[in-house]
């Protein structure tokens, strides 16, 4: 049963996933098991295949949407059972930058890895990042920028977190076309990822 769910996520069978999930629950399989042994492993494979160039963006999106179909059903049960997410992840594209496709991909993949994700959207100012960290107390904050002119907002957000005495409570990871590992080191971020799959690995390694 769990393998069936895993295969459905891999194949992106959005229509059948709710029924499969309900069947599994009816058989007495716990929500936690479905998450840990079917959904998360499936998304791990999706991420790896994308990294290896075997999977394309839409194939990743359809798997993520399928996973979400199952998660929607599992969420209330997980909350009821007191199961905690792997961690909390706040993500946004920095101020002045409207690009959100890559950032949304990262959000989806990290959600697939079992994190609770708070996606702030695009054009997020330093104050908004600080406010979200105060409010949600995430383990990790992710920042995205697609332009060299907006990438410079990233150290400003890190500074703002420092000034609010929040920097040591949260890991900061960054990504986006012009961003490099060197830049992450330079501005004192905790990590850099070139794509959604690597970002997921990075997030896991930091929690």
């Amino acid at each position: 049963m769990l393998d069936k769910i895993k295969q459905a996520v891999l194949a992106g069978e959005m229509e059948g996933i709710a029924e499969l999930t309900n069947q599994a629950l009816a058989k007495g399989i716990e929500a936690r098991e479905i998450l840990d042994q079917a959904l998360t492993p499936a998304m791990d494979i999706v991420g790896k295949e994308y990294e290896d160039g075997e999977r394309y963006v839409p194939e990743m999106l359809i798997s993520a949407a399928t996973m979400k179909g199952a998660v929607t059903l599992l969420k209330p049960l997980l909350v009821e059972a007191g199961v905690e997410a792997r961690g909390k992840f706040v993500i946004g594209t920095v101020e002045g930058d409207l690009h959100d496709i890559g950032k949304d991909l990262v959000a989806m993949m990290i959600e697939g890895a079992g994190f609770e994700v708070i996606n702030l959207g695009a054009e997020i100012t330093a104050e908004e990042f600080v406010k979200a960290v105060k409010e949600h107390k995430p383990n990790i904050v992710g920042m995205s920028a697609l332009l060299t002119t907006t990438m410079i907002r990233m150290p400003e957000v890190i500074d703002a977190l420092k000034q609010a005495s929040l920097r040591d409570q949260v890991k900061v990871i960054i990504g986006g076309a012009p961003v490099t590992q060197g830049y992450a080191d330079k501005i004192g971020a905790d990590g850099y990822a070139p794509d959604a799959a690597s970002a997921t690995k990075l997030a896991k390694s930091l929690t």
Binding site: Y56, V57, P58, G96, L98, L105, T148, T149, P178
Partner: protein
């Protein structure tokens, strides 16, 4: 005539980034010459990746490309940094193109630079309300751009409006929305339309096939120009073939000339 801006001299491409770092002018000359010979009327110059050295690297690139091509080819200055734009425009000896100006708040200085320089402008149909998703968004963003131009005294014929192509890989309706955007902007606002075609295929296999097929569709919809790789013969052939088939090439002369040229090579 369909406007072709050659996109290859962009610092985010590894080859160009390396050439800039090493001040390897031969590589830049080769890229400039190759694009001009392939039919680009304008060569795009982007040094955005240089960060704090953007202004000096941009000037260096302009110097090299102008030295290579003389006054035959124009340049478009591709930056979102207003200081770099100002320096770039001043460094050009032929009429440059501003690439680009949007409806975002930060575009104020770009409008001023457009007024001061009298340059042609690539305007992005985005920024008033974020990224455009639908054809309607694209029309509204274009309307806002035109109002901005009117207030500043920039005549509409100096403007090419970029319809903001986004990947069908992350939204299957993005192709049709951009196509409808082109049609509606042409019809309702009568301004020239432009596109960075290759965005449409991001994240998908065989991008060349999608890019040139989409280019043909955009041209049919009325597209007036594109930024692309002119050395990609599939793309250039598509431009000429589409225009001929759509009756926009008198006696098919441009198509014939281009094909004869290719045969000789």
């Amino acid at each position: 005539m369909f406007l072709i801006i050659g996109e290859l001299i962009n610092s985010s491409r590894r080859e160009v980034g390396k050439a800039i770092d090493n001040k390897d002018d031969l590589s830049i000359r080769r890229l400039a010459r190759g694009q001009a010979e392939a039919g680009a009327q304008i060569i795009d110059i982007n040094a955005g990746q240089s960060m704090e050295n953007e202004v000096s690297d941009l000037k260096w690139l302009i110097g090299v490309v102008e030295d290579e091509l003389g006054r035959d080819v124009r340049l478009s200055i591709d930056t979102s940094n207003p200081d770099a734009m100002e320096a770039g425009l001043k460094a050009c000896s032929t009429a440059p193109v501003i690439n680009s100006m949007s409806n975002e708040k930060k575009s104020v200085r770009f409008v001023e630079l457009a007024v001061e320089s009298g340059a042609e402008v690539i305007g992005l149909a985005m920024g008033e309300h974020g990224m455009p998703k639908t054809a309607e968004d694209r029309v509204e963003e274009t309307r806002a751009l035109l109002e901005k131009c009117d207030r500043a005294g920039i005549s509409h014929d100096r403007l090419y409006v970029d319809m903001i192509c986004m990947s069908v890989g992350s939204g299957i309706e993005q192709g049709t929305q951009a196509l409808q955007g082109v049609r509606r902007v042409k019809e309702e606002l009568g301004v020239k339309t432009f596109a960075a075609v290759s965005n449409v295929s991001f994240g998908l296999p065989n991008r060349h096939l999608l890019n040139r097929t989409f280019l043909a569709m955009l041209i049919e919809a009325g597209l007036d120009g594109a930024i692309m790789d002119p050395t990609d013969s599939g793309m250039m052939n598509t431009v000429y073939a589409s225009r001929t088939l759509l009756g926009r090439d008198n006696y098919c002369m441009q198509y014939i000339k281009q094909q004869k040229c290719r045969r000789r090579k």
